[in-house]
């Protein structure tokens, strides 16, 4: 599903040491992976490689059978639009769109995801509303001002956006760090539920090791690289 072999990455060509050095990593379809490590160890950097924003300096990165570094930048953008749902730490939403529009935005740049979304509903908005309900956002908030939502609510909208059109991979970069403990648990459970529903692979980054037991696989990025 996701395979990295001998991946190295540096932000600048002239940088002395690599930011990332991953001899091997494989993630299977449907796995819920908890990726952790100290701040600055390169977690977000790894995610940017998986999302096709950056290309590894060397090594081979294969996702869904496609070798990402072989693709052009534009193809990688299209690949991301089709296959990856992304959740940021916070401020996930465009403030000038309603929650529904924010969710629909998730499949605006991909025809395949639009098609997927329309398998379950007659319109994109309807599917968006369905996902928001499933993630526990009250219907009366669906058309409210996105900027007025609480952070917890915003993260639910972000999750719904990541899930719309059932992309193969959901990447979440510390999506719960702005939430309190109760909300965190609840949010992760909702994520799992949706991931199961759409049969998506989940790569979840967090500092918070207390969340680790919830996942069926945990990867420490530092030890992963130490094996070198």
């Amino acid at each position: 599903m996701i395979t990295l072999s001998n991946i190295s990455f540096k932000w600048h060509k002239k940088a002395l040491s690599n930011t990332l050095n991953i001899p091997y990593l494989s993630i299977n379809k449907g796995e819920h992976v908890f990726l952790h490590g100290p701040s600055g160890c390169g977690k977000s950097t790894l995610l940017s490689l998986l999302a096709g924003i950056n290309s590894p300096t060397s090594g081979e990165l294969t996702i869904l059978g496609k070798s990402l570094q072989m693709l052009t930048k534009a193809k990688r953008d299209a690949f991301r639009a089709d296959n990856i749902g992304y959740i940021f730490q916070n401020f996930n939403l465009l403030p000038y769109l309603t929650p529904i529009e924010n969710v629909v935005l998730g499949c605006q740049f991909s025809t395949s995801r639009k098609r997927n979304a329309l398998k379950h509903a007659s319109s994109l908005e309807q599917q968006a509303a369905h996902l928001l309900n499933a993630l526990g956002l009250d219907t009366n908030l669906h058309y409210s001002n996105a900027a007025d939502l609480s952070i917890g609510q915003q993260q639910r909208v972000a999750a719904a956006r990541a899930f719309i059109g059932s992309p193969a991979i959901i990447i979440a970069d510390e999506p719960t760090s702005a939430l309190d403990t109760d909300n965190r648990q609840h949010f992760i459970n909702l994520l799992f539920e949706q991931a199961k529903n759409s049969n998506s692979t989940l790569v979840f980054v967090s500092h918070d090791n207390s969340l680790q037991p919830l996942f069926n696989r945990s990867i420490n990025l530092v030890t992963l690289q130490d094996k070198l």
Binding site: S44, D77, A78, F88, F91, Y96
Partner: protein
């Protein structure tokens, strides 16, 4: 499509700053269009001042000076044309009509023009339009006056009113005399030309004013009460003439007409200038050369259309400065847009990262930003055009009465549309700067949020 929608919603979200930017663009567009419209209409009003006249003949000065004094009543022609020369030229072959004019007097700051009744038949302005009367008719008696429209409306004169006309130019004349009250017999329709500010009296009456003036002057020096006698004499003369008319009346109408004309014209020693029209325009050049080489007197003949153009060309520097100013205002407003877009851009890097995360390509970001600036300029231009029309509608009468510029409220001309297209184009090009910036932000930032 999605990009246009995003751009629109994003602009709506920032409506305060967007509105300000839009406002400045709209104002600058309005200003540019108004200045250009007024400039062009001023130009056409200007060249509409006189038409259908083939030559203007006066004493030898500069072309423009003659035009200014005879048509615009600006400046003062010191020399005149002798009555003999006028009569000689008038009787040349091909001459269809002549209008003698005598200037130099004023009434409450308005020019007084002594002329023949032919003036009301042959004088043309704009697109060969005749003078029209809104009330009354042309002068028939030596003490009749026909008012330009503005004179009548400004000074509140009606038909039948008595007016005292004094000798000399200027608002306050020392020689206010009740000797020569004129009766208003006609009021002309507005023309948007200096005719509106002119009082027309028979050419013969000019001499009367001057005679009364010289009498006055001499009486100031001399204690003799000579002028009373003269007055009586003058009146007597007039009566005589009238009597003559009455007699002739019964004989021949045509004769009577000529007689009356002759009485109105009198026998002035000299006139300021005269306008002439030919049976065919082919005579114009030949006649002009002849007049300019006329031996007995130093004369100058000008073709008004040509000289008007020369005069306007002298004013082109003013034109160009105006155009430059309005162009600079537009540029500043567009730079204002650039500033706001760039200032906003830094705060919007998060937005760009979010868009990238859902699969937007860098060029999507670029397009999004370009659409925004294009949208602002487009809306600015539309609002500016609306304001321009509102401004023109509200100020048309003011410009007509105070500047003599008749504004045509017509749809946007090809030229004005070109101006707007240029503004749109510049707005678009200027908008490419923040768009390019956003493009590179989205390339370097990727999805990492930097705020």
């Amino acid at each position: 499509m999605i990009l246009a929608k995003l751009a629109f919603k994003s602009l709506l979200n920032r409506r305060a700053s967007v509105c300000l930017t839009l406002l400045t663009i709209a104002i600058s567009v309005m200003l540019l269009l108004s200045i250009e419209r007024i400039r062009l209409d001023a130009k056409s009003s200007f060249s509409n001042t006189i038409s259908g006249t083939d030559l203007i003949v006066g004493a030898r000065t500069g072309d423009i000076q003659l035009l200014l004094s005879s048509v615009f009543r600006i400046g003062h022609a010191n020399n005149g044309i002798s009555w003999e020369s006028y009569n000689y030229i008038k009787n040349q072959r091909g001459v269809k009509w002549t209008i003698p004019i005598s200037l130099g007097d004023s009434h409450k700051g308005n020019a007084v023009l002594g002329t023949s009744p032919d003036y009301f038949t042959y004088y043309r302005y704009a697109k060969k339009q005749n003078l029209r009367f809104v009330a009354g008719q042309a002068f028939k008696h030596i003490n009749d006056v026909v008012l330009g429209n503005e004179v009548a409306t400004k000074l509140g004169y009606k038909l039948g009113d008595s007016i005292v006309i004094s000798h000399g130019m200027g608002n306050t004349s020392f020689h206010h005399h009740k000797d020569n009250p004129f009766t208003v017999v006609g009021i002309l329709a507005p023309t948007g030309t200096p005719v509106d500010k002119t009082l027309h009296i028979p050419l013969g009456a000019i001499d009367l004013i001057h005679a009364s003036h010289s009498r006055h002057a001499s009486s100031a020096h001399d204690e003799h009460d000579e002028h009373d006698e003269h007055d009586e004499h003058d009146e007597h003369d007039e009566h005589d003439e009238h009597d003559e008319h009455d007699e002739h009346d019964e004989h021949d109408e045509h004769d009577e007409h000529d007689e009356q004309n002759n009485a109105l014209i009198g026998q002035p020693k000299q006139i300021t200038a005269f306008l002439m029209g030919f049976n065919s325009p082919l005579y114009t050049l030949q006649m002009r050369r002849n007049i300019n080489q006329y031996k007995p007197e130093a004369l100058l003949a000008i073709m008004p259309a040509v000289t008007l153009k020369e005069l306007w060309e002298m004013l082109t520097i003013v034109e160009k400065v105006l155009l430059l100013f309005s162009a600079v205002v537009v540029l500043i407003s567009l730079l204002g847009m650039l500033t706001t877009l760039l200032a906003n851009l830094n705060q919007r890097r998060r937005e760009l990262a979010i868009l990238r995360s859902v699969g937007a390509k860098p060029w999507h970001i670029f397009t999004l930003m370009s659409i925004e600036s294009l949208f602002i300029t487009l809306l600015g231009c539309i609002v500016g055009c609306i304001w321009f029309y509102v401004l023109m509608l509200t100020s048309a009468t003011y410009l007509q009465t105070h500047a003599g510029i008749s504004i045509n409220i017509t749809s946007l001309s090809y030229y004005e549309l070109t101006l707007i297209a240029i503004i749109m184009g510049s707005g678009f090009i200027i908008g490419l700067i923040p768009a390019t910036r956003a493009y590179f932000y989205s390339l370097t930032d990727g999805m990492s949020i930097k705020v």
